[in-house]
Symmetry: none
Subunit: 204 residues, 4 copies
DNA sequence: TATGAATGAGCATTCATTCAT
DNA sequence: TATGAATGAATGCTCATTCAT
């Protein structure tokens, strides 16, 4: 039993090391030896915990996306007003980016890039960006629908609007990643809420 | 006298082949031999027209971004109304995506992914996504400012708004790329204009 | 615990294999796979011990020239008479050639050829034939000067004489390498001492 | 008939170009395209006159050694005194080196290096350094023998002495090639004659 | 005859993975 | 269990040579 805990802990250590290196060098340029060195173990040890380099990558992604998702879900459950929920999603996502800072923002970009790259292929099942987006859209759609029902939002094509909102969010993060100095995420966040949500809110 | 060949035309043929393969397999997984085979030439021939694999990639990018840019610029020059110009940028960009279709949309994602991946490094100067975004933002900012002056748009933080608009555009394309069946670009385009631009338009 | 290997010893094994192949096929025609096969290891293993093919070559040269130099230096330190010292240099050098036999004589020629070939370029710093000759000349010049002071040799242009002596030595070795059957190094050695040294010895 | 002359002349032009490039870059680093460019012809044209790169090299060598040999032979035929003949060989050889200067001295080193390198193999028959040395030795031996008969030289092992003389000559050239500034060929020439030949001259 | 476009054999090097210890 | 020494498949690129024009 304690053995299992050890194993699991060490696996996480290696995973953490891997994520650091992925973020720093990019997935393709990351070598097993880099991960091993960063984790402070031997090259061979890596293979005691992961079957392959690819498995390390997918494990990292899974870990990352699960963490993200639970953060959002938890926050949403505490709030009932659709408008506030929308704000929350924006805020949490952007905050996550700002707070997790350098390292994790970079690795998220790596996941993204790799997910795009492999969309027709291999890793597909794990880095299921398609599914992630689909879920996100559905989640937001639900909020939008509820908002319309409640008379908070004006009638709209909820699916397309969800896409636009997610798109705006992602795209803004992307720009921030590309050029942090040029983008003030806080300001952008306000604008996104004020102008965009303004556009979908019902007026009397 | 040697065989007479339109070097420029053949270079384009190889470039086209390369773009196909890049789009299909991703830049990293694309091997020179793949490009050669697709182009219907020998491995060595590639190097008669390009110095290296990287040069092929950057050439493809340059070709692509020049084409894109000139399309947008040309359209903008024919229109003077800020609102219409904004619409044009959206429309052209999304249209380009829709019309260039499968192949080119895929390779554009490759450029994107590669640009993100290398943002701190090598190819940087060619795949200057940072610069591209900066230019885009400035272009849109100019339109927004003119619109505010003309009283078409309400006062706003033009820089942040530009970021949000570009973000929304990119993000929407990204989702479309990921899952074409789930996204109706035409509808999304309308929503983006209606709801978002609605949010920044001045009301009496 | 991993396999324990005497890294230094194995490096020498590979170096020995490399020297054999260099001597047999010449540096340029020697392929890494040849060295690997001769050493009885895999291609990749070579790179566990040497950074590149060039490093293998320069390592071999360094090893060789250090061995040679220490042999000469040690012998000289035990003898004080200039005439005897000159004899020693000749004898040791020629003996070295004769004793190290087939393999090493051949690879020394390889070093020579490669040193000549690259005299204006790359390897220059390691295969510093220019420096080697310069040192050799100085060493002999010192002996000659001491001999003149002691009244053993007649006055002469010591620098040019040193060059001639080294030249004779090298040239004789070269001919022996080219055609061992035609040259009796032992006899030549005697002639070189008798006739040449005879020419510079002071007569009453 | 005139065609043949043209052919021959062009072949020589290419050969000259080749020799220049060989001298400048070394045989291995010389590419066919370099020779073609230097000769001012197309790459394919080279193969109208030579079967392969190797044939160019061997042709160059043959041309070079024939020229050298005839220079020495011609000079020797005009002189009957063994001592003077020995002087002539030294002088002509060293002069040749000095006069042909940069370019040809370099290519001669290339021939030498390549001859050494391939002594067990391929080009063997053309770059027959072994044969060249053998001939040289015989030529000098003949002079020495004649000198002994005439009572000009003291009795000696003529073969070994010839080897030493050739060796001295070659070795001195080699040093000059390696480091022209350090070696004054004129002075060395005098020393070689004065001291070495002094050693073999008969005294009353 | 002259040419250079086309070619592919050949090679140094990298790195994920294996496995003896 | 932990390790790192060993490995060879895989790949970008070079360049002598061929051959259609």
């Amino acid at each position: 039993m304690p053995k299992i805990v050890d194993k699991e802990a060490k696996k996480m250590e290696i995973l953490n090391a891997a994520m650091q290196v992925f973020a720093h060098k990019g997935v393709v340029k990351t070598k097993i030896i880099d991960i091993a060195t960063t984790a402070g173990v031997g090259k061979g040890t890596i293979y005691e915990y992961f079957r392959s380099k690819e498995e390390i990558f997918t494990s990292a992604y899974t870990y990352f996306s699960k963490t993200m998702e639970s953060m959002v879900q938890e926050a949403l459950s505490k709030e009932d007003d659709p408008l506030k929920q929308l704000e929350l999603i924006l805020t949490i996502s952007l905050d996550a980016f700002v707070h997790i800072g350098e390292e994790f923002a970079d690795i998220m970009m790596e996941f993204w890039a790799e997910g795009i790259r492999n969309k027709n292929q291999d890793i597909l099942d794990v880095i299921n960006l398609k599914g992630v987006y689909s879920n996100y859209r559905k989640m937001i759609q639900k909020i939008l629908k509820k908002g319309i029902e409640k008379g908070v939002f004006k009638p709209m094509d909820t699916k397309s609007t969800a896409s636009v909102l997610i798109g705006a969010l992602d795209g803004v993060m992307l720009q921030w990643i590309m050029d942090r100095k040029a983008i003030n995420l806080r300001k952008v966040s306000v604008v996104l809420l004020d102008s965009f949500i303004e556009g979908i809110r019902k007026r009397e």
